[in-house]
Structures are given as structure tokens and as C-alpha cells.
Symmetry: C2
Subunit: 312 residues, 2 copies
DNA sequence: GCCACCGATATCCTCAGGATATCGACTCGG
DNA sequence: CCGAGTCGATATCCTGAGGATATCGGTGGC
């Protein structure tokens, strides 16, 4: 039995007339008679009573037609669901990101994405760059936003593109000696207890910081000790209560609150870029849609992305 | 798109391998490749990722497959539902009957029917012979049980068969003069106030009663007045409280209760037969199943039914 | 009783679906 | 680094199911 038989039976039930049903189906009357009678033979049951006043379904016909309607509805739903999924209108996107992405980049991109694709299920999880890279490779995430391009085993399976740049700022509590200054120098920082991202979790930031504060040496040795904080709000919170000098991207200003002051670091120092990564072989249309929006929202991302995607 | 495409896509998703899926479908591999790719072309979306490790559905494929499974389930349900309806295992039977049918005939037939066809929805309604005949002709009933074969307009569209015979008995209250007698004669009845079925509703009974008690004359004129009661329990109830002499079929004994006495009428008088009727053109398998059971349960019905059905 | 309508049947034809053979890409082991 | 093996895609041919046309048979209405 093919779905054709269902369509024919439904048309016949609707028109109660072989000739008109056939015309509506765009075929001649004899083939319709044949197909209906073949269907009845296959089912071993008469589906229609042919009377002088018209063609009417039997009890078996009614039962059959009810199911046939649902079957055809499922089929057309299959087509439209597949289309919507292919266009990225439905589906799922699991996104892992570092906290600072939530300060500037994500609010704008996510807002647009959620408005454009209301039926996509978004999974959002703040996590360190190391964890998001691992989760991406393990297939637990579809997209990761971190600092610095992923390196190490499996990194060649990922495509990464820079989506933001920040320079370094220092965050201090109101009682801190730096509080009055608009700027602090690198030399001044070297003696301070620093609040920074955890070295193992943010390898790019750690390596960069080590190079900045003391070539080749561990950060704690050159600074007055280090406290590791996993996210922007913790850095600010710790700085505000005088634990030390928080170091982070300039976008920390967005999260600043009364009782803390954000100082520029002089000379101006660029942090490792904010990088968006995904699996090179991932053809998910939802991912593509997200990348499209990122392209529109982040100047310069478009060209860099094209260059990398061309290689796929 | 045909249901074949759904079957092929599901097989491919199951085996994750074109060759094995094709083998499972009983076709060669190239046609499967062609059909899948035709389906993808029609949908405008790739449904499967062909990788070195196997064939896996894309997001669009997953969406499509979920619907496809349901569509095919509906189709196979359509087949089985139609079959069951055709065999009379599901469906509906609307039965109208006079109260006395409930005393002997229906309990046995209905018990078997409900056990054999638990999924058939039974519509049972006690009603007069006149009403059940009209409802049958109007298509509001599928089967009617009454006294005497239906006559009048439309009766030629019905098939009727005798399913039971009864002789006349009289029912009196304990205080009635007849109460001590085992038998009453027709002569004795003539002077009594009678409780009988309503003349307009039970034409066969009324005509028969008129003939019996006084040729050509109305029953009330020859008897001591008449009370019309629509059902057996009312006849017995009225008789028990001394309203008069209830007349009805011998099966009334089944419903007799303390305080009433059932007397044979002498000489023995046969009542109009209990008759089962249905539309001659009704091919409902549920009806056929009910008739089958009646055939088994009621000796003699089988041959009479065959004779009448042969004419259809 | 004749005609008009409608579904069934007969006959032919076309093309879609399937089979066979082969290709091209990729993997893996020596 | 290369050859064998695997797997999906492609090329080509063939068959039969589905469809078209013509006609039949039955039924109801005028």
C-alpha cells in the first residue's frame, strides 16, 4: 500500500463520485476505480458502497479514512518539519561561553537570535575556555566562546574566529591605593596581589599574563600573590572587598558597581581575543544561522569567517 | 512523495548503511541511493550525512524520521482498523427492542455478543415496535426487535425474521378473583379491565387482541375498559396493585414478583411472533455478527434467515 | 421504453523504480 | 606510501505498475 491509495480514497470520500474525484486528483476515472479496487482487495474489505445516489464509505471505510487523514497529515508535517529544521528554524544550539562574553557580545547576538528563531531550543552555559573547548570536541556543545584560539589535541577539528577584542583594565576597591588613579602602570601591578582568571582553565590568558608581568616566570612569583576567580562578577566582588587588584577585559566596566573603580592599564595592553569556535564538520543549520547573526553584529567577523569556512 | 520514501529513509536510519538497508528492504543498493537522494531533492534538505563511519541523519533527518514513523504507524493502523471494522470487531450496533425481548432473548444473545465483540459500541434502547420500525427506516437504528413483522410504507426495505414465540398469559394481583385460578378463559377476560400494550405502538398486538376478544370491535368496548402499559414491568406493577388483568407474553413470568400471579389463558393462544428486523441493504459486518450469534442461539432462525437473505 | 449517467472492464502505452555493472572516494594495513 | 577493500554515487538498461482511451453494463429518471 502506498500513500497514493490514501490520497485516492480520501478524494473519493470527499467527492462521493469516481469521476469528479479522479478529476480533482488530475487522473482519469478508470485508474481511480482500479486503485480503489486494488486497495480494497489488499485490505480484504470493501471500503466504499457504490450506490445510485453516490459513493459512500462503509464502516471499514470510515475507520480507514480516519487513519488515512492522520497518516497524510503526518507525512506533510514530516516535509515541513524537515524543511524548518534544515533552514535552522527549529532545533537546538548548545552554547558554552566565558562570563565576559555575557557582558557585551552575547546580549546583542542572543537577542536577535531568539527573536528570529523562537523555536530553537537554546542551551546556555557559562564555563571556562578549557571546558568549553573540551565539551565542543566531545560533542556536548555546538558552539564555544572563550579567550584565545583553542590549541592542543583536536583543535584542528575546530573552526575559530575572533569576535571581539578587549584591552586590560584593573579593578580595585574604593579603599585601595589605586582608587584615586585613572591609570595604573604595569610596574605598579607587579607588586600587587592579583585577582585573575584561573590559569589552568584559561590557558591563553595565563600564558599572556605570565609573559606580561614577568617573562618566563610564574605570575605569583613576580606579583604579590594571586587569587583565581572564575568569572567577572567574582573578580569585581573580590576587588571591592579589598582582596587585591582584579585584572580583566575592559568590558568588565559593564559589570562594575558602586564601591569599585576600574583603572586603565598603561601602556594599553590587548588581551587574547574573544574567540568563537565550532566543529569544522558541523553542518547544523541552526549553527549557521547563529553564525550569520554574529556576522551581522560583529564588524569584521564576516570576512574572517568566510576565509576559514572556505577551507572546510 | 510516497510512503515508500518514508520506509526507505527509516530503513537507512536503522541500518546506518546503504547496502544493508537496501538488503533489508529487499532491493539493491543503487535504487536506495536514488530514492533517498530524490527525497532529499524534493525536500530541499539533506536528510543524511554520509560519513566514513556510517550514514547518520542530520537535524532535518531526525525531524523527518520522527514524523515518518508516525505516518507509517498510522498507515498500518489504517489497515488493521479497516480489517477489524470489516470483520465486525469494531463499530457500532444500535438496537431498539420491546421490553419483553429483554426477558429471554436478549440476555443470552447480548452476553455472547459483548464477550465476542468487546470493542463494538452497543446502543441499546427499549422502545415500541412502531418506533423501532420507524427508527430503523430512518437509519437511526441498525436492528429492531418487536412483535409482528413490520408493515406499511418502507417495510419492503426491511428484512424480518421470527426469533421467538410466546403464548398469552394473564397477570393478576393477589387480591384479584382470578388469583386462585391456574387458568382463565377468554370468556372470563372479556368482562375485565385489561392492561395491555398500547394499540398504536404495537399494531400487531392490538390487531391480534381485537380479533381475539371481539371480532371487529374495539377492545375497550368488549372488555371492562383498557389501560395501556408500555412495558412488561409496568403491566406487572399495575396488575399487582389491582388495576386490572395484565395480558402479555408467557415470558412475563420471568419478571413476575411476589404479590402477582400469572395465569395461563385457556385455550392456549399464540401471540404475534417476536421479530428481528434490519435494513435489507445494510451490509454492516457488526450486524452480520449479531445475526450470526442470533442464528446460533435461536433454533430455527438460521434457515429462515438464509431464505430471506438470499433475496438480497 | 429510451436515454443519460456512472462505475467497471479491456487494451495499450509510458515512464518511474529497480537491476547490473562500474566508478570514485576514502580507510586501513602492510 | 601504496594497494586492497569498502561504500556510496553514477551510468545504462529493463520491466511492470499506473495511467489514458475506448467501451461495456447496469440503473434510474423522464
Amino acid at each position: 500500500m502506498e500513500s497514493r491509495h490514501l490520497r485516492y480514497a480520501l478524494a473519493l470520500a470527499e467527492h462521493q463520485h469516481f469521476g469528479r474525484a479522479a478529476a480533482a486528483l488530475g487522473i482519469a476515472q478508470p485508474p481511480l476505480s482500479q486503485q480503489i479496487s486494488a486497495l480494497e482487495r489488499e485490505l480484504g474489505a470493501r471500503l466504499f458502497d457504490r450506490t445510485a445516489r453516490g459513493v459512500f464509505p462503509t464502516a471499514a471505510g470510515e475507520a480507514f479514512l480516519a487513519r488515512a487523514r492522520r497518516a497524510l497529515a503526518e507525512m506533510s508535517a514530516a516535509v515541513s518539519d524537515a524543511g524548518r529544521a534544515a533552514r535552522g528554524e527549529t532545533g537546538r544550539l548548545r552554547l558554552g561561553f566565558i562570563g565576559s562574553a555575557l557582558l557585551e557580545l552575547l546580549p546583542s547576538v542572543l537577542g536577535t537570535f531568539i527573536r528570529d528563531r523562537p523555536e530553537v531550543r537554546l542551551g546556555l552555559q557559562e564555563m571556562s575556555t578549557r571546558r568549553s573547548t573540551a565539551a565542543l570536541l566531545a560533542g556536548e556543545l555546538d558552539l564555544a566562546i572563550g579567550r584565545g584560539a583553542p590549541r592542543g589535541a583536536g583543535a584542528e577539528d575546530l573552526v575559530s574566529v575572533t569576535v571581539g577584542r578587549d584591552h586590560l583594565v584593573a579593578v580595585v576597591g574604593a579603599a585601595h591605593p589605586f582608587a584615586g588613579q585613572a591609570k595604573v602602570s604595569l610596574e605598579q601591578l607587579k607588586g600587587q596581589h592579583l585577582i585573575v582568571a584561573p590559569a589552568e582553565e584559561e590557558p591563553a590568558v595565563a600564558a599572556w599574563l605570565a609573559g606580561l608581568l614577568g617573562e618566563g616566570a610564574d605570575v605569583p612569583e613576580r606579583a604579590g600573590g594571586v587569587t583565581e576567580a572564575w568569572d567577572a562578577h567574582t573578580i569585581i566582588g573580590l576587588a571591592s572587598c579589598g582582596v587585591g587588584v582584579g585584572l580583566g577585559p575592559a568590558c568588565l566596566r559593564v559589570a562594575a558597581r558602586p564601591g569599585v573603580q576600574v583603572c586603565e592599564v598603561s601602556p594599553r595592553v590587548e588581551l587574547p581575543e574573544l574567540v568563537m569556535s565550532f566543529r569544522a564538520q558541523d553542518r547544523s543549520p541552526v549553527l549557521a544561522a547563529f553564525l550569520d547573526i554574529t556576522r551581522e553584529r560583529c564588524p569584521g567577523v564576516a570576512e574572517r569567517l568566510e576565509r576559514r569556512l572556505g577551507a572546510r
